[in-house]
Symmetry: D2
Subunit: 332 residues, 4 copies
């Protein structure tokens, strides 16, 4: 199978490398608005630089990986499913829920395949956690606790166009919550503050938040987010059920411990999403390649992308109005 | 110093034993509506059985420890501060906030001393955690996460007269949240479900809940409670600040680990509040004795008892109305 | 039952306190060469000061706890078993194996009861470990690893009369090894160095050592000792068997963890044997009281005391001669 | 730089893959006595099948990776250093110390470069541990504890030609001990048993052993080995120094934990050396490539290979003679 990568930035380079390491997959084309970036990435993998339209029209491209800026995602998804290519797109599909719905309608019409890049589901530890839960190791799932703290905030100009912390950062946790709960959320309650940097507040965003999600049967999930964690990239999931509890632990820079007169010390956590989720990105692309090869629906599809965004919209509304928001209000 | 214990039930026996082991403190009297219980406990410690009124009138009693049913707490506090005795009272002061306020007014008028039994503040690990936070080890406190899961629900008849899970169980976590945040809560958001036993719901209560507390400066605390934890008594606190994070961990039945072909195994947690908090109860009473001896204000006084109950009232209202409740509404 | 404590020093005071907290046990007499020490301890527990001979002759004393200097142990054991008292004696019975054997012969002749104070067997975590092993959780025991590191060396004058590190410190580990192996040791190999303080070497002793013990069936145990551990009192046991492994972990000053930009930090270990083994000392005396009451043989008797000393003698010989020493050489 | 792999078996395939993933390195040739194996590996990486002599004579090969059976190692090393190729050779150089010395003499004469495959030094956690020790985090190194337990014994026919457990398995631990001690060993004491399978004893080997190593300054290291560990591949290192202790921990199959009524459970350890040391093998080959490129001496050279074998010889002698063996006896 032959792949093209659209967007030769940081995450495009990660995915291009991952394609190269999957048996049976080959990167044949790279597109980027900046020719030098495209050229550099293409050369590294023995691929060609092409325009987006050339890739859409190409007979030798089976699938594309969209790593462009967010505002191009929906248009590109539509163009490539219409061109009969399988599509992997980084989250989010779009920051506007209406636009996402229109895009998914096109995917459905064309019968195309769309996988959305919720990388965390492909992390080996989180996957092992989900497998244990699916195997009934904790009985019936009742409550989920998700902790997600970034080592630091992104640049302010990124924040300004990010759609806000709920759509940019919490969106991953909303997806994890849906995955672990195994039941759709009915009600969203959220609380958000600016605690780490007043400039984030001046940009109209928050940096610290808590969310409570509730399903129709009363299951609950909580999400805690912060744009600051001095000790690294804090990524934890805890699932409680009728028979017990399961959790996934953080990844430290090294698995060593030092003891001295001040106590016992372990290194901080991996503090960059690319090193923390190296294995997740590789498994994610390998999963995409497998789905393309076997004609199977991807584990994280367009509907998942839409629902995570809808949960973000509900959380924004809950903060603004100081009340529990029904998902029916958002999805109506 | 000479002490009397009012109420010779389970917790009264614990406190009586603790008094005996503090140098300079002596248990001289025990009162209980059931003569056999009073007699048994008095004999064990070489104390006398007396009536409540005899103890109030006694010259040889400096302080009392109130371990009676909740509905007697406020009346007894008033009687004994008026009688000039130092008073330790198990939480809650009363289930009705108005009654608590009236009671505290009497304490204030008399200049009496009242310590409220929030035992968790006296747990050595939680105390070490608070000391680390107070020492600035995590910088300025920003977010607190409290997990509290009981091994099992109390009997349904207890639940019926408990005032509900927020006033009975979460009240401890509200107190811990205030202690760790170091700033009063302004807004309360809560979500509660019945997930472990429908009979609890039929009794008008919940068994699973999440709460978000927010202060005026935007600090947030979350509380997760469940009336079920198959793996023991789950009691965790995590405090995040500008410079880092501090947490207190659970106490296992034994500090051993066994590895076999199925993996690595540790024993479950201590699953009874008395074994989990053995050291806490001893330190609590030692603190009370010290405060009586030195004429110092106790670390957990009447105001703390009132504020934890007010937070519970706010949480109940938040669940009922599906909205963020301002503490000003409750305390007005 | 009524008890006397011989020796009102540090460990005598611990045992006296423990006797007081066991239901049915009472401390009636204290003896010490220093009258002030005896008086102080006796007063604390409402006991009398008596001479050793008075205690031996007393009708109201069922059992004695010997906490005197080591060189009095064997004589006192003989005197008191002859006087018909049950005897608890701190380790070692004597530093000379011949003297120990003579003493045990007297115990046997008189049919007296002797318990030797190997406190570690009564530690709740080590006891839980042994119970797991005895329950077959690791299958047939094959290899045992014992780590024992003191926070610091004792004073040099103590070292000079201690009989050397193998008889003073490692003796505890020899006892643990026998207990966990469940089979007598046949061969001893040891290696000892002076690494922490040259003065220890000048005093004729070592501060750092490793021992390998082997049974007839080929089971092996290793012991690592050091007189220095900056991070506290390091006390670990690991047992390997045909089906798995079990270990007991160290006890930290508090069960908390702090994370900051430098990593994750836990407090050092309990660094004093009395705080580390508080529960062990209490269980030890409670076990002694129970054995006296029920007329049962103690878990750690005279034979255990002799065998641990014999292993120490073998280790000393192994270091001196640079070879594996057969226990038959020592016990012949 | 261009590489050839000699031996297309399991480890040859791992190293071939590693070469392909290092920038600037290319696999051009594969040799194997079994043509199909050579062909298969060559094809996978776009390399050619050649004979060993063709590779030695080839102008387009800078370096070779020797993964043949052990009895060919020394001859191939000599052939290829004489041919002017840089050489990476799997451990051991040879099972006979005299043959190793002759081989290293040839390496020295030719001025050739030889790296020996002690993969564990390239494990990220062990490397982080060594770096912490080298940075003085534990002060002056005093005592080292190495635990190495295989999930299971190799086939009996492998054992028969392996040179015995000390030369086959412990050799890795001898190398780690030298690396961590930072000072050559002077004395070796060992004890070995057959505990897991009598057939291993019948084959003249052992399956369970302990070793004590001592340096001239009195530093000590212990090694514990077993051919059985039901819970996975147990690989631990602990380094004690004047200021503290540092350890490297085991790698579990997944970093999750499950709690239920029976307790807390983690998955077993990675139980295959290739998955446990995946990262180590990659770093090892990358290090070799870097040394070839930069003309630098490798971190694990011929001398390290010889010394680890000499320590194994000393341990064998110590077991046979029941005494401490001086390295001077072996190296004389």
């Amino acid at each position: 199978m032959k792949f093209a990568v659209l967007g030769a930035g940081r995450i495009g380079r990660v995915h291009a490398g991952a394609i190269g390491s999957v048996t049976g997959a080959e990167l044949v084309a790279v597109a980027d608005a900046m020719p030098a970036a495209a050229e550099d990435l293409a050369q590294l993998h023995g691929a060609e630089v092409r325009t987006i339209d050339q890739i859409a029209a190409a007979d030798d491209v089976d699938a594309v990986v969209i790593c462009t800026p967010t505002d191009m995602h929906a248009d590109l998804i539509e163009q490539f499913v219409r061109a009969g290519k399988a599509v992997f797109c980084e989250k989010p599909i779009d920051l506007d829920l209406g636009r996402v719905r229109d895009c998914l309608a096109v995917v459905e019409e064309t019968g195309g395949m769309l996988m959305v890049g919720f990388n965390r589901r492909y992390d080996p530890d989180f996957a092992a956690l989900h497998a244990a839960v699916a195997d009934g190791r904790v009985g019936t799932v009742e409550m989920v606790t998700i902790t997600s703290r970034d080592p630091g905030a992104p640049p302010l100009d990124y924040i300004a166009r990010s759609g806000g912390i709920f759509r940019d950062m919490t969106i991953h946790d909303f997806d994890i919550a849906r995955w672990m709960l195994g039941e759709e959320v009915e009600t969203v309650i959220a609380s958000a503050s600016v605690l780490t940097d007043p400039a984030i507040g001046e940009a109209g965003d928050f940096d610290s938040l808590n969310v409570i999600l509730r399903t129709a049967s009363g299951k609950q999930a909580t999400i805690t987010n912060s744009r600051r964690a001095t000790y690294g990239y804090d990524q934890r999931i805890e699932v409680h059920g009728s028979e017990g509890m399961a959790n996934a632990r953080n990844m430290h820079e090294a698995n060593i411990e030092i003891a001295d007169a001040k106590g016992y010390h372990r290194p901080p956590l991996e503090n960059f999403f690319m090193t923390r989720y190296t294995a997740a990105y590789a498994h994610e692309i390998a999963t995409f390649v497998g789905c393309v090869r076997d004609g199977k629906a991807p584990p994280t599809g367009g509907y998942d992308g839409m629902m995570a965004l809808a949960l973000a919209d509900a959380a924004v509304k809950s903060v603004a109005e100081g009340r529990a928001v029904q998902m029916a209000e958002i999805l109506a």
